[in-house]
């Protein structure tokens, strides 16, 4: 029993190593690269969401400034009359 267990013990890594073919290695590399693709998607998504929000802020800032100058001009105009 004991010898059988130790046999298992040293054959297992060898068997596992024998199972790894070049295709497996390329597949594994492919998987990691695919993950890299998703990493870039993730970063892009974060930046896009933030940029869109900042752009929304900028456009609102412009609208507010325009409204303020318009209203001030109108008020001055009225006070002159």
């Amino acid at each position: 029993m004991l010898s059988n267990g130790s046999l298992m013990h040293w054959t297992l890594p060898v068997l596992l190593a024998a199972q790894v073919s070049p295709e497996d290695v390329t597949r594994e590399i492919g998987r990691l690269q695919r993950n890299f693709e998703f990493l870039s998607y993730g970063f892009a998504a974060a930046w896009i969401v933030l940029t869109v929000y900042v752009l929304m802020m900028v456009s609102r800032e412009r609208r507010l400034k325009r409204e303020i100058t318009g209203l001030k001009a109108m008020l001055e105009d009225r006070q002159k009359r």
Binding site: N35, F36, L39, A46, V49, L50, I68, L71
Partner: protein, 225 residues
């Protein structure tokens, strides 16, 4: 002066985030998850920023109800809106991480589902504000809603946790995680930058809210004349 300082802070935050992208890309892939794991460098900081913003929103809502000072109401809107923006970043990055690792875009897991419900609730807050015309009423209603919504956050979280959970436990701040120290440093920088960015955005939004009130008072003046 104050405005320039704000913009400078914003630029610094963006610069830190941009610099960290290159550092992160240079890190070796994580053992189990490969490169997709590194999405965490944007995912976690955006959650920290969203949490900070939404807690600020709760505190300013309470302060508004106590003091009736409209400054706090403006802070509450600004913080909630920025919070929703960062929640969106957190959700988007989470979804893009889940696709390669879990194999699906979305799973009905505790954190994901509670995050989505949180997003819906605070989007409801913004819509509610939009629908109320009268400023005092709007401020009161929004503050009440904000408090009720914040009470829900832990209940939602725990209820869905009992329901099911799949989200990985936080990997840092706890010992035994697979998080090297130099990665933690970069993570720290990213968290700092995101929170800084959130603060800048809240301040800018706050100024806009004040400008909006100025417009309203000018309008009233124009009517009076």
């Amino acid at each position: 002066m104050r405005e320039k300082l704000l913009y400078a802070l914003g630029v610094i935050a963006f610069a830190i985030l941009a610099r960290d992208i290159f550092i992160i890309a240079g890190f070796p892939p994580e053992v189990a998850q490969g490169n997709a794991f590194k999405i965490i460098f944007f995912h976690v900081p955006s959650w920290v920023a969203a949490g900070t913003a939404l807690t600020t929103a709760l505190l300013s809502s309470i302060l508004f109800l106590v003091t009736k000072n409209f400054k706090y109401d403006a802070t509450a809107v600004a913080a909630t809106e920025v919070g929703v923006a960062f929640l969106s970043v957190g959700l988007a990055t989470g979804i893009l991480w889940a696709r390669p690792i879990w194999g699906v875009w979305w799973v009905w897991d505790a954190r994901l589902t509670s995050a989505l419900i949180l997003w819906l609730m605070y989007a409801g807050y913004l819509m509610l504000r939009h629908a109320v015309e009268e400023p005092t009423q709007r401020a009161n209603f929004a503050a009440v809603f904000s408090i009720l919504a914040f009470i829900d956050v832990p209940i939602v979280y725990f209820s869905i946790r009992w329901w099911r959970t799949q989200h990985p436990a936080p990997v840092f701040f706890s010992s035994g995680g697979s998080f090297p120290p130099d990665w933690s440093a970069v993570m720290g920088w990213n968290i700092l930058a995101m929170v800084m960015l959130a603060c800048v955005l809240v301040s800018v939004r706050l100024q806009q809210e004040q400008a909006q009130r100025e417009i309203d008072s000018l309008r009233r003046l124009a009517h009076a004349l």
